[in-house]
């Protein structure tokens, strides 16, 4: 299988503090990868490096064969860990912005996703609950035909109903020819959708592997393993 993401010896320092240390990670097409770790473990730093928003001190990142830049930005669809839409926008405005911004935006898909999420076009972002904002952001992100989807904490702080809708949308939009990278500390709710998991602690990979192999080897679910590692 072809690796869509290749990370080698990645290190990132803020002043003297090492936020990430010597990270190696390969992700194949068609895989859903969970980056698991408590707050401050380096998850968001890793994502910002993948997005080209930060530059590494050492190491190499290849996405679709290239270093983070114009090309990689065009093939990554990114859900930030907080609402990225302006509060004055309606659903329709947000949709329009995505259509204008991204050539790979699929109108039909967006239509389906908005309906699935029960989001009306006239709703205003400023009047939405946290769960609704998350659903709208995710619907837009999943409507792009990207090669890599990066979802940063997609279910943090949303109610159980919205959480289920978000999980369903992620599963329904799984694609064989693209990869998904999802960060979370809510392992119990999300572990069943991961092919591969990476336990990130204090800026280092503590453990990584195929989720099913780890379950078999450790004789426990990933959530229990998470508690054992970080508990």
């Amino acid at each position: 299988m072809e690796n869509i993401v290749e990370i080698k010896g990645l290190t990132k320092r803020y002043d003297r503090k090492e936020a990430l240390r010597n990270i190696d990670l390969s992700i194949e097409k068609g895989k859903v990868v969970g980056i698991l770790g408590p707050n401050g473990s380096g998850k968001t730093t890793l994502i910002k490096l993948l997005m080209g928003l930060l530059h590494p001190n050492k190491g190499d990142i290849r996405i679709d064969g290239e270093s983070p830049g114009m090309h990689t930005k065009s093939v990554i669809s990114y859900l930030p860990d907080r609402n990225a839409l302006y509060s004055w926008m309606t659903v329709k405005d947000a949709l329009q912005m995505y259509q204008d911004f991204y050539q790979d935006f699929d109108d039909k898909k967006a239509e389906d996703l908005l309906q699935f999420m029960k989001l009306d076009r006239t709703m205003k972002v400023s009047n939405m609950s946290k769960g609704m904002k998350e659903k709208l952001n995710l619907a837009l992100v999943l409507s792009r035909r990207a090669k890599v989807y990066i979802l940063d904490e997609p279910i943090a702080g949303v109610d159980p109903v919205a959480r289920d809708q978000i999980l369903d949308a992620i599963i329904d939009n799984y694609k064989e020819d693209s990869a998904m990278i999802i960060t979370t500390h809510l392992v119990r709710d999300m572990e069943n959708i991961f092919d591969q998991v990476v336990f990130l602690g204090d800026g280092e990979i503590i453990l990584s592997g195929e989720a099913e192999s780890l379950r078999e080897e450790k004789n426990m679910q990933i959530d229990d393993l998470y508690k054992e590692i970080f508990g």
Binding site: G30, K31, V32, D164, L167, D168, I171, D172, Y174, N192, I193, F194, D195, A211, E212, S213, R215, E216, K218, N219, M220, Q221, D224
Partner: protein, 120 residues
Amino acid sequence: MNFDSGLPIYMQIVEIIKTRIVTGILKSGEKLPSVRDMATELKVNPNTIQRSYGELERENIVFTQRGMGTFVTDEESTLKGLKATMAREKIISFMEDMERLGYGRDELPGIIEKMIVEGK
């Protein structure tokens, strides 16, 4: 769906599907839900469902027809065997539980018989 045991999820799904077959929710020769539909229903990665279907196929409990989907076998002997195996597993786990409660194996038939007579 919560998968609580230490078993890999694809194995737990294999068990779920076997139970559906034995209890008649999925009938002999019936088409299984598509991998995607099953993934949505159980809220798991489609690759996991694919693996479960593959395992069931290896055990000859289902078969795949190219472009048509995956079907429950219509071999009666396989289905009977599956039922017998599942019954056996349940009985073994029951016996182990009872042993943990301090009952000897020789006491079990009497206990069961008494319950049947009492109509429980």
